[in-house]
């Protein structure tokens, strides 16, 4: 699990997000893979490939080295699965939206006010339509 969480972090690193978020995404991904034998084999094979390219332990590599190894693997089906699933699981989380400053479900708070919709104070307002 630690290696998968680290893989997700290498794909989509956000200093503002806690380790718990990445652990959670990794758990959810592993659960998806576990539901289908072919996907589980793909995922395990992908992890094995990372370790093989690291002479045994991808986690012990520096961040730059980890990224370099991932780049070598980026055309593989395993990489494709992990990348697409990581992006989906990470960027559909309301806690991630909150941390990254995205408003999310506006219906839940009745939509934005005029002041919020036009909140920019570093540019002048458009002139009215002639």
């Amino acid at each position: 699990m630690a290696i998968l969480a680290a893989w997700v972090y290498s794909l989509y690193p956000h200093a503002s997000l806690s380790a718990a978020v990445y652990d959670d995404v990794a758990r959810a991904m592993a659960a998806r893979a576990a539901a289908d034998p072919a996907t589980l084999e793909l995922l395990n094979g992908g992890i094995a490939s990372l370790n093989a390219a690291s002479k045994g332990d991808w986690l012990s590599q520096s961040p730059a080295q980890r990224t370099a190894i991932l780049t070598q693997q980026e055309s593989t089906p395993a990489f494709g699965f992990v990348r697409a699933t990581a992006a989906f699981l990470l960027y559909t989380r309301p806690d991630v939206w909150k941390t990254l400053g995205y408003g999310g479900d506006a219906w839940s708070f009745g939509g934005y006010s005029r002041e919020q919709v036009n909140s920019i104070d570093w540019l002048p307002d458009p002139k009215p339509i002639p």
Binding site: L11, Y12, H14, Y102, W107, V117, L123
Partner: protein
């Protein structure tokens, strides 16, 4: 499931598809006292079921039945399993649309006359002009409640529009406006004003945005002449020995097939499903497809040239607040071949949510640099392009015999090669968008590749003569007097404008024409 008002043996007008064209036509015909059976493949999803959630909405609303694609357009490489993004629900793509409602420009009805012949394109002039459509545009604008028309106030200025307006005016653009929305700025027509949710394209939960789902459909049902059958996928249009349409075969949501008799049939399934249905309705008398003697059905597929550019600013923008498509720069929609291409394009302040940004708009993106873009989501503004692509005879919707749908019918295959004119236009836009965003203060730019097609046009084009098109100036089949096309398939050119207002204007006009023909027993 709604109770059937009309029996299978009642020869009503059968309309296929409940989007901008089909539902508007249904409403108009019912108001004229004509019985209509409207067959919609999707189900009726009410606003209470919509969610302010990009990914959920995608799964809920999209036409996910398979289509295939080929050609050198980017989408064939980036989204081979989903070359088009249309809606499967009552309301069609009016559930998803951003509600930008423009009239075509006069010269865009006659591109052959104005642009001249262009290699590898099959330009043609429409058999009608802006003057002819003008009164119907007026009616359509009133029907849709288009801001900036009929005294309707524009929506409030949004952050994303404010950035675009400032950048645009600084680089010298003169025609920048935040009107032309089919979205209530005040309560109107029994629907509330916009709540500034920012999820127009996930289905409007407040119903402030015009969508046939909660406008034309309920109005038509109130006449007691509409029989709306949802979950009803039309498989084939049948004809009699004389070559007139006699009825349609459709599958209901349980997969059971039914035959509905028809006095006439109006096809409004969009620019992909309409030609597909006509091709799948081939018979001994119409071996190339129903009404396809000209061989033009499925040809000249147009979708607009599109592109999306993000600018990254040093201060917060919060682009997601307010309507998805909040304003327009019109300057580049002019005809000016000195720029290196024929036709023009609109620039629109159009945002995407963080999920779409992180997951969809930059396919395959990952790593620290992309992560920093997502980190700065709140400091991003974006400009979208909608440009006129040219009709090419080789850009086609055909039947993919190697892939069948759940009913055993060949799926639609889109073959699209970019035209040099499209590429020159996109290149120009990318330069202008960076200039504009830079003038507003952006320091970094992210260009996104083209998206799957949502505007699907041209595949049953109008023409004066039967050999050069599929339908006449009223969308009536040249070959089959009681077969009509009522969606964007009729378009002869794409123009620089988003198509919905023109589709509605044509449907209003076609309804009058059909009513006249029926009254005179000419059909």
């Amino acid at each position: 499931m709604s109770k059937s008002r009309h029996g299978l043996n009642d020869a009503a007008v059968v309309i296929i598809g409940s989007g901008a064209g089909g539902a508007t036509l249904a409403h108009e015909l019912c108001t004229q006292g004509i019985d209509v059976v409207l067959l919609e493949a999707g189900r009726r999803i009410e606003p209470a079921e919509f969610r302010n959630d990009d990914m959920f909405a995608f799964g809920q609303l999209s036409w996910l039945d398979p289509r295939t694609t080929s050609g050198n357009w980017d989408v064939a490489r980036l989204s081979p399993n989903m070359p088009a993004w249309t809606v499967k629900a009552v309301g069609g793509s009016t559930v998803h649309w951003g509600a930008l409602a423009y009239r075509m420009q006069a010269h865009e009805f006659a591109p052959l006359s104005h642009y001249g012949s262009i290699d590898s394109a099959n330009l043609a002039d429409w058999p009608l002009d802006l003057a002819e459509l003008d009164p119907w545009y007026v009616r359509a604008e009133d029907r849709l409640g288009v801001t900036g028309t009929g005294g309707i106030e524009p929506l409030p200025v949004t952050n994303n529009y404010k950035v675009m307006w400032n950048g645009a005016t600084r680089v010298g653009y003169r025609n920048v406006r935040n009107d032309r929305h089919a979205i209530n700025s005040q309560p109107r027509a029994g629907r509330p004003a916009c709540l500034q949710l920012g999820f127009c394209t996930s289905g409007c939960k407040s119903a402030a945005k015009w969508s046939t789902l909660y406008t034309e459909i309920p109005a038509a049902l109130a006449t007691d002449r509409l029989d709306l059958r949802t979950g009803s996928m039309v498989l084939k249009i049948e004809h009699d020995a004389a070559g007139k349409v006699s009825g349609v075969v459709y599958a209901d949501s349980a997969g059971v097939q039914h035959r509905q008799r028809a006095r006439l049939v109006c096809v409004a399934g969009n620019g992909i499903e309409t030609p597909r249905l006509l091709l799948n309705s081939a018979s001994a008398k119409f071996p190339q497809g129903l009404g396809n003697g000209s061989g033009m059905i499925g040809r000249h597929f147009m979708k607009h040239v599109n592109a999306l550019v993000f600018g990254r600013f040093e201060h917060t923008v919060h682009m997601e607040r307010g309507p998805v498509a909040s304003g327009t720069v019109f300057d580049e929609a002019r005809l000016d071949t000195a720029r290196g291409f024929a036709g023009g394009y609109l620039m629109q302040s159009a945002h995407v949510g963080l999920p779409s940004f992180g997951i969809a708009v930059k396919p395959g993106a990952w790593g620290a640099e992309f992560g920093h873009w997502v980190d700065d989501y709140a400091n991003l503004a974006s400009v979208w392009m909608n440009g006129e692509d040219l009709p090419a005879a080789a850009n086609t919707v055909t039947l993919d015999a190697s892939k069948k749908d759940a009913h055993g019918l060949p799926v639609a295959h889109l073959h699209i090669d970019d035209h040099a004119n499209d590429l020159a236009m996109r290149g120009h836009y990318l330069k202008q968008a960076r200039s504009l965003l830079g003038a507003a203060g952006a320091r970094q730019f992210l260009e996104c590749p083209p998206f799957p097609a949502t505007h699907t046009l041209g595949t049953c084009r109008m023409s004066r003569t039967p050999s050069t098109g599929v339908v006449d100036a009223f969308g009536r089949s040249h070959e089959i007097p009681n077969l009509f096309i009522s969606d964007g398939s009729q378009f002869v050119s794409a123009s620089a404008q988003n198509p919905t207002l023109t589709i509605v204007a044509l449907a209003l006009r076609q309804a009058r024409h059909i009513g006249d023909l029926m009254t005179r027993r000419a059909v």
